[in-house]
Structure formats: structure tokens, C-alpha cells
Symmetry: C2
Subunit: 505 residues, 2 copies
Amino acid sequence: MPDHAISPTRAEDYPEWYQQVVKAADLAEQSPVRGCMVIKPNGYAVWERMQAILDRMFKDTGHQNAYFPLFIPLSYLEKEAQHVEGFAKECAVVTHHRLELSPEGKLVPTGKLEEPLIVRPTSETIIGAMFARWIQSWRDLPLLINQWANVVRWEMRPRLFLRTTEFLWQEGHTAHATREEAVEETLRMLDVYATFAERDLAMPVIRGPKPAAERFPGAVDTFSIEAMMQDGKALQAGTSHFLGQNFARAQEMKFASQSGTEEYCWTTSWGVSTRLIGAVIMTHADDDGLVLPPRIAPTQVVLLPIHRTPEEKESVLACCRSLEAELAAARFGGEPIRARTDTREIRGGDKTWQYIKQGVPLRVEIGPRDLAAGSVSLTRRDRPPKERTSLPIARFAAEAPRLLEEIQQGLFDRARAFRDRRSVRLASLDAVREFFSSGDASQDGVTAGGGFAHVHVADDPAVAAALDPLKITVRCIPMEGPDEPGRCVVTGQEVARPSVLAKSY
Amino acid sequence: MPDHAISPTRAEDYPEWYQQVVKAADLAEQSPVRGCMVIKPNGYAVWERMQAILDRMFKDTGHQNAYFPLFIPLSYLEKEAQHVEGFAKECAVVTHHRLELSPEGKLVPTGKLEEPLIVRPTSETIIGAMFARWIQSWRDLPLLINQWANVVRWEMRPRLFLRTTEFLWQEGHTAHATREEAVEETLRMLDVYATFAERDLAMPVIRGPKPAAERFPGAVDTFSIEAMMQDGKALQAGTSHFLGQNFARAQEMKFASQSGTEEYCWTTSWGVSTRLIGAVIMTHADDDGLVLPPRIAPTQVVLLPIHRTPEEKESVLACCRSLEAELAAARFGGEPIRARTDTREIRGGDKTWQYIKQGVPLRVEIGPRDLAAGSVSLTRRDRPPKERTSLPIARFAAEAPRLLEEIQQGLFDRARAFRDRRSVRLASLDAVREFFSSGDASQDGVTAGGGFAHVHVADDPAVAAALDPLKITVRCIPMEGPDEPGRCVVTGQEVARPSVLAKSY
């Protein structure tokens, strides 16, 4: 057995470590379809947990789910000029609607479409067209819709979860009578994402508007939540867009106002995707594999029975069953605790390492000696694999919520401390250059990719031009705290707040 | 106000009545994308209920969810000859992966793919390719996977929910070590569908194998559940396929058996889709609109406050809120009762008719007079709109589960009685001809399309040829009850059981 279950380690080769964690936890794999992944049961179960929590949050903020077509007529995409420009290079295009045997006996596409259809890369244009039909007066507003769907953006250099040609996501689309309401909605959903990231994914995020060059194509303002991965790079984990009246104009989405005038709607859109699974891996996983925050762990407690004789088996399994029932009756995050017993007859060590690699928060071993002592042997995924504690059986189910909460909070605190250690405030372009070029030194046991540099920069093409050779971008302008005016390190312009600069996924 | 909320009525024009029910209940509408519908919030909420129940049933029978690519390489589809033949005429084909501005300033597809990709019409081939990678030995079997996804089958004559180019569904795919196990799985999932249809959708179904001509392309055996719509036509509401080793051979899906030999797997697939929403409409809706079985009704009880003065409003709304809480604490079908209060300030009659058209099972009016009398005024969607009963407020939440159960069971009983009245046993082709040609007479207040004829027929092309001019097909060979041998009314061959013949959707 090597020192660690995952080889290479983070320090040795971070990108390859990521692939190996995905494999060891059996989350996903590349499919034979270029750029498309298969999300395996372990990975999909995490997505289901994310969906359940987010769906509840969307409904609690007044949104309803609906479903819109996969295909978008080319002419719809063209209506918003910046929008089509932004997506033209990555569109899967449907041009035919049947297959026919050619005279050479080969199946060939036939039934050419008069107008090509685009497999949705996002749905502003088709949903906007429907909204335009549905909205007549101010009484129809706000219209608050969410869709769970697959989308396609052709990807030349795919990476599991992080960049795939097809991915799963949700896209919220809303229409409002006033600019103020639409801005409020944009920020409300940014907050929903930030709360979800921090509370449920235990992933600290920075929220803020993006510079113009990084905006969603067609948006007036794009806000994102940015998280720091363990190589110091930023990952954009969710975005919320204020679309102004751009799409409403392109789609003739108008309403009769209370004063009787005809006006264009103000719209928003916002989304998170299966990319979040990649974010969770790169935030919490370690050199032994995945580490799942309890709130999104499909299995929160795994019970591992140990027995040799049939009599031992019977009493140990009876204990497991009763613990399962007690845990199902206990509550963590408002829900029954998800426990399961692994009764497979394979080597105990293999089982244990499997759950370590899969990131299950709590492992509980129960054998005849434990039963005799009236205790269970407990190991936590956020502690070294061999650090055991013992707990009275009778108290375990009552203690489990606290243990899970401790792990959840501990993961968040650890990730935030990591981010804080790798965050700096810099006052010159030279300092920025130095910070990101010295970033290859190993630190915190992982390959470094720099970190977050908080720097005053203007929203100006000159800034992007200066940062481009460093392979860094302006991630967002953090919104928290009071203004801290300063001069742009590139242009010298006065700006109100520092931005976060980083390498990114 | 006309006699009925829906015009035309079922008797006047059944197909148009269907469209009007969908519209009145605000379930879905045609999108600007040919053949693709938009599922509106009211329709999608019903689908979410169906998904939640089915997903639980799949997991309880040992299946795990996963997700596979939307695109299938043409060469994969070709591997199973019958399969590709079955779907070739309705495939959306992706041929390019980007758009570019032509010299004439027009956006045109570019980046031609070496191999065209098919938007999945079903996923046997791509899932099978992954199974072949995952399965090495008998220890890896059975492999029990389900996918919730969208699929595309190009449709020239779309009808909302019933036939659309894109639809939402689930597709189960399983692999087994033996023929027996795979057959058992095929029938288990057929039973899951039948239980779901009868218990949750209150829709009686007949289950049985299909004749060869009606099998899923590539299957050894296809079993279906068939329901009777109110025009007497059959609707195939779910299918479960025993695929033998056909797909395993096409995809080299092999395993090392316990005795060490290399063998092909035995596979199954099974699915239901958003078509079920159409089935529910055509089974239960009436001339006033949708009628939802309580178990799948997103809102089971709507509370309609009535008040004039601010004081009345306050006390009435307080009563509504406390009833909502009591109902959420009550249980129906193992879940909290889903109630909501409609506080919109619009005419009471408009509200009432809206919920009648949307099919909400129980409507409860609460006004100052009711409060004074300590009672609520109750109307049920399965009874005439004006048939009111009164119940003590204090008892309502306790009575609600029984009322909902009564409606659920009543809808099932009514649908089964309808089906039984429209079912006949016939012993000659002439009798069949007469039954289906006299089927245009109005009966039961709805346009007639015949009904179900139980007839002995052989699984023989001659039978299909004889039935084709009558526009009827063999739906399935019902499995329930003992064998009842007889002679085929077309070929004279001895067959073990009668089949169900019907017009169909």
C-alpha cells in the first residue's frame, strides 16, 4: 500500500490527481462521444443531492420549473448579435432529420432542414420567444421560471465535469416590469448560489460583478461566485446575469404598464451546472480521494459489519439495522441521516478504502468486540484514515448530527483558511507579475497556481491586454465590505474597489 | 357561461376537446420549433410528481440513476440492424459543430463532423457501449441503471404530450447473467409501471406482450401496458423490453461466468415518458377541464378565501394559514397534503373555474359565514361543480386524507367501469369489422372510437394485413388469468389466449 490512495498526489501532478480522484470515486468517465462524459451512479447521486437542495431554494424564492425545446432555430440565436457571436464557435448544428441507405449501402443523413437547428448552448432566445407570447400586461410580471436541462457547447479540450461538450445544468429565466426588480432578482439568485456553495458545498466563494470582457454574451452585467481550488486557481461556480432590455428588444417582449404605455421587459438569467461537482472535488478532495461535505453526500454514514461466525453475523447485522433505523429518524440539515450497511463479503480493508476514496463522511465499524463493549469504532473522512474514536452504540445516532455538522463546518473553515493564506493584496503590476510567476512553488502540499490577488484594476481592455501574458484574468470585483478606492495598476484610473485576479478553470 | 368550461365537448370533437383541456389547464403549448412543445409550469409540476414516485420505485427495486451522452455516433446506431432500421426515419442529425459568417453575411454551419452524430432517440447503443466497458465478470452483474433524459424522434404530425419531436422520459437499462433474470427484470418493471398507472394515475391498464410487428426495434420481446382513453382508443402507456443477447452481441458486452466461460450478457430496457400526462388527461378529464388524480396533483387542496372588509380578510386568511399547516401535517399516500391558498384579489367565480379547469381535487371556500358557523364549504373535482358539502373546520384536515383517497379510488373505478363497458369478446373477423365500424356512434357522452376487442389472433403478418384496413392493431396479449385457447379469426391457427385489438394513439 503506498502512502496515499491516489497517485499521483496533488503536489506531484494536480491535473492528473484530479482525474484519478474522479476515477477512484467512480464519479464519471469519458464517453466514446468526443467531449461528452458519462456521469456514473456515484457522480449522479451527488448531482441529485445538489438538485434537490437548489430546487427547494428556487421554489422558496417563487420560481416554477418548466421545460423548453432542446433545439433553437438559427434565426432565433441571431436576434441578439452579441449573443450569437459568443456562442457561434461552439454550436452543435442539426441539419437533417432522417437517415437513408445510400446506393453504396451506407447510411447517410437526408431530409435536409430548411433552417438549421442549434442544440441549445443556453436558452435565452427560445425562452424569451415564449415569454413574449405569455406576457401581455404588468399583471403577468414578474415571470419567474427555472429549467433543469442538458446543454451543448462544443468543447475541444474537455475535462470531466469542468468542461464537457454536453453538461447538465439549471437555467433560471425571469422577466420584470422594472430595471430595479430585475437587478434585485439578479442579486437574489447570486445570493442563493453563494449560500448554497458555502452552506451545502462547504466552499467559500467571492461574489461580484465581472468586467465587461468576461460578461455573458448579450448581458448588461454578469455576476459570479468564484471559488479557489487547491492549486490556487479560481473556478467560476455560478453566474447570474442582468440582461437589461437587450433580449426583450431582440424578442419583442413587451408589456402594457400600469399607466397604459407599452414597455420592454427587463430580464435576468442565472445558472449552475455539473461543473459544481468538479468544484467540490478540487476544493475538498485529498491524496486519499474524494471528501464529500455531509450535506451533499449521498451516503453520510456507512456501517461496516465485521464478523466471522454465523452467530456473530446475526448479532452484528441486527445492530447495523437498528442503527440505520435510528439514523433515519435523526435529522441533519432538516433531513433523515442517510446511512447504509455494506454487507458484501469482501476484505474489510478493501471496503474501508473504497469509502475513503468515495468521500463518505463517517465510517462506522461494528464487530463482536464492539458489541461486547457496547461501542462502535468511528473514523471521519476529514481526519487521517487511522484516527479512530469510540462511541457508545446507544449514543451514536444522537451524536451523528453533531459529528456531521462538525465535518461540514470543518471543511468550510479549512477551505476558507486555505483561500485566505493564498490571497494577497497587491499594488503594482510588477507585484502581480511576481506573485503569479513565483506561483509554481509547492505550498500547502499541493502544486501552486498562484492564488487570488486583490488588485485595483479598471474595467478596460488595456487591463486584459496586460494580464493576458500572465495567463490571469479579472475574476470579479468582490462586493462585500465598504469601497476601497485606488488607482488601476495598469491605466492609473481611479477605481472604487479592488478586483480579484487569478488563473482560472 | 356555457354549460361546460371546455368547448367543444368530448362528444362534439374529441381531438379538439383534448387541445382545449391542455390549454385551459395551462399545461403546455406548441413551441416555434417544429414538433417540439413547451411544458408549462402546471404541466411540468405534474411530471415532477410522476418522476418523484417512479424514481422512488426504481430505487426501491435496486436501480441507480446515471447520465449518458445526448449524442450517439452513427456507427453505434448501425451496430444493431433492426434497431437502426426502426429509428432511421426519425433521427435528428448533427453534422457541424460551429457557425460562421459567410461572405454574404449569413451565418452558416461549418466545422463538418467526420462522423455525423444522432440526437438519441433512445440510448441502448450508447449505454450498451459503456456497459461493455464496465462489465468484466459475473460479479459485475446484474447492472441496473436508469436515466432521466430528453430524447428526439422526428415527428411529422405532433400532438401535445402524445407525439412530440422531443420528449422527456426515463429509460431503464439493465444487464444480467442469465436469460431468466433478464426476463424477470423485464416483467418486474412492467409491474412497476402497471402499479404506478393504477395506483397513482388511477388509470387501469392491461399488461402483456406485443405481437412481433409491434416490438421495439431490436427486442426479443416487448411488453406494454395499454390504457383505454375516453374515445375508446388504446394508448400505450409504458413498455418493457427483453432484448435477449441482441444488443450485447452488437456491442461485445461479455462477462466471465462463474464457471470461467465468456458469455454475452442478457439485457433489458424499459421506459415511460411525458406521454403519460396525455394519458391522464384523456382518461380523467371531462367537459369542464382537467381532472387530476390526487396522488399526482401538484396542489391537492386549494383554499379560496372570501372576504369584503379588512377584518374579515384577516380572520379568513388566519383560518386558511392554520388549515394549510394542519394539512401539511396530515398524510396522504405517505406524504404531507399539498394545499395552497389563493389570495389573489380577483372574482371568486373566476378563481373557482380556474381550479376546476386545472383539475385540483378539492376546493375549499372559507368566508365570514363559514367562520361563524365553524365550517368550510367543500367541492370535489370528481363531482358536479355546484355540488357542495359542508364540513366542520376542526375536522377538515383529519377528513382530507379520506376524501382524497375516495377521489383517487373513484377515478380508478370510473375509468375501469368505462373500459369494461367498452370491451367485448369477439369470435370472428366479421364481428371485429362490425364492432370497429359501428364505433362512431356516440356513447357515454364521448365520441366513440370503438373500444377493446378481445379476440383470438395469431402473431402472424396475415393478421396485421387483415386488421390494417380497419385501422386497428393488436395492442397486446393480456397476461392476467388462465389460458383460454382458441382459433385465430384470421388464420385459423390455435392460440393460447385472446389479444386486445383497438384503434390507438
